[in-house]
Symmetry: C2
DNA sequence: CATTGTGAACGCCTTCACAGCC
DNA sequence: GGCTGTGAAGGCGTTCACAATG
């Protein structure tokens, strides 16, 4: 089933691919040559059937009786995730979170690169973070306009998140990752994902407050995700 | 169907409750007294049927022909989420992210309170952030031990996340929110959630790289979540 | 008459289990 | 013998559509 033309990959699978990728990266760095679905499952915190089904969506890359070639599979997963090209990321809102994101070391290994930082506070303009100057938000259009497939990150307060979003959409970003606690509306179809600290805390609070409905983690070891 | 005894609430519903809560908070602050499922749906970026089904899991709080009383519903949602008590949060790892989290203003309105900050770097110990001193990780057990139902937040590098996790578990936290890109294993059952910046970026990259399998947002306006 | 609450239908992901292959 | 790939079964959340209701 290697290449049916329109390979529809379920979203839950897409979300697990980065986790597999990370696990494979670690295995590869450790010199491991082959993994079974069971081993990869343990490293990723899921069960083996799910790993096999997930990977089968990418192609037939395993060898019965042996498992998967770590480096080959890693390459396939990275290619599937689009990590074989560089992604340029612009960050809007250089408060603590913006600083944390800009300095994040997760960019380099994953082929994401912060290329521009923006804020609206005049006091911050010009300050350098991670080797990049903070620019005024009004320059966003000019700076981002030229980039082909960029990702915009919103790290601003919720009160201005929709405005920032509008500017990013207008500037032509291909996708937006929003850290502000706000529901955003976009005027053209683009990828939009939400990361919300306080939602996660509240979900945790719910489950602690309702131990009777607690969902137990699956499989070997009580792992997360 | 107000109070079947073991009200099992589906996890997707639990995750949406904080979003409804935020929308209701805004409506309440705006003096709105009543909302229909359609209005709440628009504010939360979901569809009306989902809102009604979700809320029906909490109880029969709506009025046919009218809608829901904003303040009453808000109270019920908050109670359900366990936000009618204060949750004490400890943060481990006071890099940029830890600072951002500690200073987050989302704590107060949601009844979450940062009560202790930890790091391992001697240079940081004693520094004050948001009115709290940074303590050495070795004090974790002593400080957290006394708290009844606390939430631990891991904002450390991935390399030490499992160690931090072990310490938190041992100290007796009721739940853990992990920001480090690592799959954690816990030795006793507790709530564990993962927030992963780079996973989100990679998912965005996937969908931008595969426009043919793009999942369109639902409903009115192209909204997030 | 607008709007809720909810059975029923639907669709989709997960899990099972095993044939097939190395 | 060990392990993959996958049809089939199962489980669960979403959506539909409408009876019930203020």
């Amino acid at each position: 089933m290697a290449d049916r033309f329109v390979r529809r990959i379920p979203e839950p699978t897409v979300v697990r691919l980065p986790v597999y990728q990370r696990a494979l990266l670690a295995l590869s760095a450790g010199g491991v040559q082959t993994v079974s679905s069971a081993e990869l499952a343990e490293a990723a915190g899921v069960n083996a059937a799910k790993v096999r089904k997930d990977l089968s969506h990418l192609g037939t890359y395993g060898t019965p009786g042996t498992g998967y070639d770590v480096n080959f599979l890693l390459g396939q997963v990275r290619r599937e995730l689009g990590l074989d090209r560089e992604w340029q990321v612009v960050i809007v809102g250089m408060g603590n979170l913006g600083h944390a994101l800009a300095r994040s070391q997760r960019f380099s290994t994953q082929n994401f690169r912060a290329v521009a930082l923006f804020d609206i506070d005049p006091d911050k303009i010009g300050e350098e973070v991670a080797g990049l100057p903070i620019r005024h938000i009004s320059e966003l259009q000019a700076v981002v306009g030229g980039i082909s497939r960029s990702i915009g990150v919103i790290a601003s307060p919720a009160s201005v998140a929709q405005d920032v979003c509008n500017r990013l959409v207008e500037a032509g970003v291909a996708a937006i990752l929003n850290f502000a606690p706000a529901i955003l509306t976009v005027s053209r179809p683009l990828q939009l994902r939400q990361v919300d600290f306080s939602v996660e805390l509240q979900v945790l609070a719910f489950y602690v407050a309702h131990p009777e409905v607690t969902v137990e983690p699956e499989d070997a070891s009580l792992s997360g995700l």
